[in-house]
Each structure stands twice: as structure tokens, then as C-alpha cells.
């Protein structure tokens, strides 16, 4: 379960007790609470669940994983099937 969607932080500010950001998901934006990921800055991607960011997407790790998968694909192709 846990529908959490990655979105891009467009802006953020401290309002009252909270840190609140405007996050973009495809062509839609929504207010998101950054209280659990206060270090997220403009341009960062965060994973959002019920209006709260629960983690910052680790761009480097994501790239690494995809690169590894693509490499594996290439090797398998070369090996033939």
C-alpha cells in the first residue's frame, strides 16, 4: 500500500510550525509538508504520501540503478537468447 509519488520541489517556506513546499507532479502542483525532509531544496525530488514528503529521491542512486539495469540488458542481448 502506500501510494507515494515523486514530485519536484518548486518553492518552499516556513509557515507557522511547518515547512511547506509547492511540489510539481507532471502538470499538477500541490502543497506538501516538508517537515520530515526539511533539507529538501528547490529542484530536489521528494517522495510524497498523503501530503507529506517522506524522503528525498536520491538522484545518484536512481541513476546508478538504471544504468546497472541497462547494462544487464545489454549483456543479455549480446549473449543472445
Amino acid at each position: 500500500m502506500c501510494l507515494a509519488v515523486p514530485g519536484k520541489v518548486l518553492e518552499s517556506q516556513d509557515i507557522g510550525f511547518n515547512r511547506i513546499a509547492k511540489v510539481q507532479f507532471g502538470g499538477v502542483t500541490r502543497k506538501v509538508y516538508l517537515d520530515f525532509v526539511p533539507e529538501a531544496g528547490v529542484g530536489d525530488y521528494v517522495l510524497v504520501h498523503v501530503g507529506f514528503a517522506i524522503s528525498k529521491i536520491d538522484e545518484a542512486e536512481a541513476q546508478r540503478t538504471l544504468a546497472l539495469l541497462e547494462e544487464m540488458g545489454a549483456i543479455l542481448d549480446e549473449g543472445g537468447e
Binding site: Y33, G51, I54, S55
Partner: protein, 367 residues
């Protein structure tokens, strides 16, 4: 959409499936815990890409399905009260209680509203100071921090009319109970990626060790799940039993400490009943005494409501992965999303609902 589309790439999926086929030497039974993962498996037909020797068994990862019957009944009792604004996540509206559900309570005049975020309920409380606003706080560890924040926020603002009916369930104790059952055939586990985003992967190290079980923290997109399965197959073929993280872009070993802190402030661990499974020790959260005025159960005195779980219902066996929905005599016949007999048929992440939406016409399912 970034970080979504790349993980729905069919070509990547095919390479992973190929790698799995290349490695697998014997049948394996794997369990994915999370309802969202079950949903992805069904929606993308992942079982068609996997070798038939891999059997995927679906675990109890649907907090909507496992919220105890008496909590649903308590929610219904509160929502039916005249002045109350009852706010809930959309998932809960169709879940059947002992006699009715939130949709019917709404139809009868209850002020039941859907929220995307618990902070919406806090806002409603602020905007309607003369009416009690109650938020139905269900969920796993992924949702618990947000629910905790709502209570914490209400207390900081001194909102006298806000309270939460809480029913949180924790994954690792439930997994321990399921794995300890003698009927359990699971050889490898896909752990719930978003729960681990909050709690960290470290919670699963004991399980891997105690049951000598390979565990891979998996994401929710089809490529994530296939990759998690590939890592499990590798472990099984190598004879390893470790906790590995496939969902590295979101999960770390320690998780989100800020989220864990807020939960610790507002909640405490308690024994918890899981609908269809029974009571599992230390598997839930309740609101701490310091926040008693925000605990709807105490505010409305509904703690006395009890409910009898039907003992012969197959939900229990399905949620523990011991039976499939298609094994159920009434699946797709008397039990459908329009006339659900149990929660797994109603919740969008319920395994029965997922089967019904995507699989019931497949060979082996009822026609």
C-alpha cells in the same frame, strides 16, 4: 513523469525477466507484503513475464483490509453523530463494518468527507470551531507520521474540536507472526518500500536472520518489483539470507528519523488486532495519554464497542498468503466489489479487489 516512467519501461522489464529465467533452477514461493505491490503485479501482468516456477503469494499489506472490525464500527458510530464532521481517506469509505459502511452513513445524513491529507482535517477543525472534527487515522508506518503530525499540530494550535480515531498497524510483527506459522511456504520476501522509507531497512534484519529468509526491500513500479524478485532469486540460488535494498532511491538503512521522532512523541506501541488474522502483540500504535484529548476513542467513549469477527471467513487465509482469492468459494460470485463480504474485496489495494479487477477471467479464476 520523472522517477516513474523509467521504472515502467517494458524493455528493462524484459531484460530482468530474462535474467531471472537464466538463474532460476527450481520452483520458489515469494511473498510481496504490500497491497500497492500486489496492485502493480496485477495491473502490469508481471506474473506473465515471470517463469511459472515462481509463485507469488500476497501478504497482508493493506491497512484498510486489516483495520479491525471494531474500529470500523467505532468510526461508523462517531460519523453518524449529528454535529460531527468525519474525515477519512477515500479507501475507507466502502469498507464494511458489522452492519453498515461510511457511504451508507453518509447517505443517511452523516457529514462524511474525503481527505487526501490528514492536515486537511486539521484545517477543517480550524474552520469549524463549533463542530467536532474527527479524522480516521489508519495506515501502516508510511502513513503514521502524517497522522501523528495532525495530532501534534492540533495540540500546538490548541484546537479543542479535533480528534483522531487511530488504527495503525506495524509490518514487522505481522510478518513475524505469518512466517512463524507452520503452514507458511514463503521462501523469500519483498518488503514494503514505502514503509521502509520511513522506518528503514534495519527492521527486517532480525527477520532475515531468525527465519533464514532472503528479504529485498522493493519499490512499487513494475521494474522495481521485477528487480526485487531477481535479487531474491539470486539470494535463493546462492543460499544467502540477507536484507537487500532494491529501492535505493528512497530507502536507507535507518529510514526517516524526523518521521520516526514525531511518531514516538504522539504514539506508543500496543498489541493490535488485525482483521481476519487476530491479535498480534506489539503490532500497532495507540495515541499516548498526553494526547488523550485528541484520541477520538476516549473523546467519544467508543472504546467499549466490540465486534465479532466471523471465524470461518477466508480473508484470514488470503491475507496470510495461505490461500488465493480464486480459492474462495464466493469470490466473484456472492463476493464482488459491489457486494463485498470482506475488506480485501473493497479496498483498492485489497488482494481480492486486485484479483477481481485484473485476473478473474484468467484461467484458474472463476468465470
Amino acid at each position: 513523469m520523472k522517477y516513474i516512467d523509467e521504472y515502467r519501461d517494458g524493455k528493462l522489464a524484459e531484460s530482468i525477466a530474462q535474467a531471472i529465467r537464466g538463474r532460476l533452477t527450481q520452483p520458489r514461493v515469494l511473498m510481496e507484503i504490500c497491497g500497492g505491490q500486489t496492485h502493480t503485479i496485477m495491473r502490469y501482468g508481471l506474473e506473465d513475464l515471470l517463469p511459472p516456477e515462481i509463485e507469488l503469494v500476497h501478504g497482508p499489506g493493506c491497512p484498510v483490509c486489516v483495520a479491525p472490525l471494531e474500529v470500523i464500527d467505532q468510526a461508523l458510530a462517531i460519523a453518524a453523530q449529528p454535529e460531527v464532521i468525519f474525515v477519512s481517506y477515500g479507501d475507507m469509505l466502502r469498507v464494511p463494518g458489522s452492519r453498515t459502511d461510511l457511504f451508507r452513513v453518509k447517505a443517511a445524513g452523516g457529514d462524511v468527507r474525503i481527505a487526501y491529507s490528514p492536515m486537511d482535517a486539521v484545517r477543517l477543525a480550524r474552520e469549524n470551531p463549533s463542530r467536532p472534527v474527527v479524522f480516521f487515522g489508519i495506515g501502516f508506518e508510511t502513513t503514521a507520521p502524517a497522522n501523528a503530525m495532525a495530532v501534534w499540530q492540533a495540540s500546538r494550535e490548541g484546537l479543542r474540536n479535533f480528534s483522531m480515531l487511530a488504527a495503525h498497524v506495524l509490518v514487522p510483527p505481522a510478518m513475524r507472526a505469518i512466517l512463524a506459522s507452520p503452514a507458511c511456504r514463503v521462501e523469500g520476501l519483498i518488503a514494503p518500500g514505502h514503509v521502509c522509507t520511513v522506518m528503514g531497512s534495519r527492521e527486517y534484519e532480525d527477520l532475515a536472520r531468525d527465519f533464514h529468509l532472503p528479504i529485498v526491500i522493493g519499490g512499487f513500479e513494475p521494474v522495481d518489483l521485477l528487480e526485487a524478485i531477481r535479487l531474491l532469486v539470486d539470494q535463493l540460488e546462492d543460499g544467502r539470507a540477507q536484507v537487500e535494498n532494491q529501492y535505493v532511491r528512497a530507502v536507507t538503512r535507518t529510514g526517516n528519523l524526523a518521521a520516526q521522532r514525531i511518531m514516538e512523541q504522539v504514539f506508543e506501541v500496543c498489541d493490535q488486532k488485525w482483521r481476519g488474522i487476530g491479535e498480534i502483540p506489539a503490532s500497532g500504535y495507540r495515541i499516548r495519554a498526553e494526547f488523550a484529548r485528541y484520541d477520538a476513542q476516549r473523546v467519544f467513549g467508543t472504546g467499549q464497542i466490540t465486534a465479532d469477527e466471523p471465524k470461518e471467513c477466508i480473508s484470514a487465509l488470503v491475507l496470510q498468503g495461505l490461500k488465493k482469492p480464486s480459492d474462495c468459494a464466493v469470490f466473484g460470485a456472492r463476493c464482488t466489489p459491489e457486494f463485498p463480504l470482506g475488506a480485501p474485496m473493497v479496498s483498492s489495494e485489497g488482494v481480492c479487489a486486485a484479483y477481481y479487477a485484473y485476473r478473474r477471467h484468467a484461467p484458474g479464476g472463476p468465470q
